[in-house]
């Protein structure tokens, strides 16, 4: 599993952990406690997303350099057709993986942003999802 995927899973785990913690200590929790747990988790998610986004950007730069090299070597006649096809295939595969990761971090960030800007809505959704928390 890549570092990036691990980070995404960790951020998602944190979200669940925050919800679990809220559920376990529900009787003692106020709306402010819930909101604090939600914003804390969302804040950590933004940091995880920032780190992951930087990794993706670095990988995009490497791919950019590889594609420029393929293009320039092909134009100069220094690349056999077989090698070019192989390198393009690898580049395509890498690109597809990075696009998926980009989508994942975008989703995660949107979720964190929403939790930070609409905390009370997220809290109500959580309470609706776990009715036992309301007691």
């Amino acid at each position: 599993m890549s570092d990036l995927t691990s980070m995404i899973l960790r951020a998602q785990d944190e979200q669940r952990t925050a919800e679990d913690a809220a559920r376990l200590s529900a009787p003692a929790m106020t709306a402010e406690d819930y909101d604090s747990a939600i914003t804390g988790s969302a804040t950590r998610q933004t940091h995880a997303v920032a780190a992951e986004a930087e990794e993706i950007a670095d990988a995009f730069r490497v791919l950019d350099a590889e594609l420029r090299a393929i293009r320039d070597e092909a134009k100069a006649g220094r690349l056999s057709r077989a090698d070019a096809v192989d390198r393009l295939k690898v580049a395509r595969s890498t690109y597809a993986i990075l696009k998926r990761r980009h989508q994942q971090v975008s989703d995660l960030y949107r979720s964190a942003e929403r939790a930070l800007t609409n905390t009370s809505d997220v809290r109500e959704e959580m309470l609706a999802k776990y009715p036992a928390l309301r007691k």
């Binding site: 995009f60 134009k75 975008s106 930070l116």
Partner: protein, 84 residues
């Protein structure tokens, strides 16, 4: 590439409800995911350029091979030899 803007900063996103003191001290990070989208589009363009270049190189390779074959035939017809 150095011309790419940073994608994250320490600027906060959103705010806590009034009167709520956060239990954590870490501030949210603002992430400019549009920079990644720009990278992605740029790469899509580069793929097109690279693939076009590879196709053109392949065609040049075929033309060169055809030229060798023609030259071989001409040599063989005139002298009964080939360059191979």
């Amino acid at each position: 590439m150095s011309d790419v803007a940073p994608i994250a900063s320490g600027a906060p996103v959103g705010s806590l409800p009034r009167g709520v003191v956060p239990k954590h001290t870490m501030q949210p990070r603002k992430v400019e995911l549009g920079v990644l989208s720009a990278h992605e589009q740029n790469l899509a363009d580069l793929f097109r350029d690279a693939e076009n270049a590879v196709v053109a190189a392949g065609q040049a390779e075929q033309q060169r091979d055809a030229l060798y074959a023609t030259a071989d035939e001409a040599l063989a017809a005139k002298y009964g030899v080939s360059h191979e």
